[in-house]
Symmetry: C2
Subunit: 189 residues, 2 copies
């Protein structure tokens, strides 16, 4: 018998991703987002939810492009800061000393020091309420070679991404290996 | 300098969630989804991406409701199985011995043995390509009391949810505590 805990924007785990955009003057900005996810395999698409009050919102609408940079635990403080400060009043790259790299596929910057960056063109915008959902088609992914393993793909033990627990507002690393997908459940069939 | 790894539906971490629906005969079904995320805070909404070939697809379209049950590492095998088998030919609850509980808020079942369940009414459907994005408004969340901690909210150490690494197709537990959000980054401002 479960307990009702109400209608909340709460589920676990949620990711910790950093949305990169340029503003109207070409200043690179980044905003941390835990609301989002992959939403299509072909074409590959990722969705991120952004409030209208965010500096990133107008950048997305004006530039029709964004990146999603994925931090490792080594940059948890910087990722948290990117969710606290506003690009309206701050150059978040300058403050943290991190480097904005220009995507070669879309009109948006990514965080050079984070291991993975998705370069996305905005293809859909959906108004939902407090948040607007921005859906981008992934045109390319850039990765640091030292986080790649088997088949040239990201290896979680090398990468060390992390997750967010909403409402309680805490971060947790991705940890122990549990097994292969589309495999460990076969014994039940 | 980063390396291009191509345009893929790849980002880390992605969640491991189980979408619950009833079919046209009222048979409960579950499907594992790693493509999705929270997409609005007010009203609270969650998005999940489903392929047209899935048994869940028609259930969603016909019933306009779904649940999202979140497994812990204790049920990683069952969650994996729910992504392998099809409700067209199998009663996945019967095969695994898990229990379908009827949501009291929406016309969909959740997995009683999983610690958390979101009860959602379908409010938007967006065709993207191979996947269709289904957006549900969260009307209530049901939780097992033994995974709740501070403020009656899910405690990651008690819950032990897990994540999926796309392409390489592996599961990893949520692990080490890293710190408080909207807090650990303040020292950089």
């Amino acid at each position: 018998m479960k307990k009702s805990i109400g209608a909340k924007a709460l589920i676990v785990p949620t990711p910790v991703w950093v949305v990169g955009t340029y503003d109207h003057e070409g200043k690179p900005n980044v905003m941390t987002a835990a609301w989002g996810g992959i939403c299509c395999s072909k074409p590959p698409c990722v969705a991120i939810a952004v409030q209208k009050i965010r500096y990133t919102y107008n950048n997305l609408v004006e530039r029709n492009a964004f990146t999603v940079s994925v931090p490792s635990v080594l940059h948890a403080k910087e990722a948290d800061y990117f969710g606290i400060a506003s690009g309206k009043t701050t150059d978040k790259f300058a403050t943290t000393g991190l480097t904005p790299s220009k995507s070669n596929m879309v009109d948006a910057p990514y965080v050079e020091e984070f291991p993975l960056a998705l370069e996305c063109n905005l293809i859909h915008t959906l108004e939902l309420g407090l948040h607007t959902l921005f859906i981008g088609e992934v045109l390319d992914i850039k990765a640091d070679e030292d986080v790649l393993g088997e088949k040239g793909l990201p290896d979680m033990n090398k990468f060390k991404p992390f997750t967010y627990n909403p409402e309680i507002r805490t971060y947790y690393a991705v940890g122990e290996y549990l097994g292969k997908a589309f495999s460990i459940g076969k014994e039940l069939s």
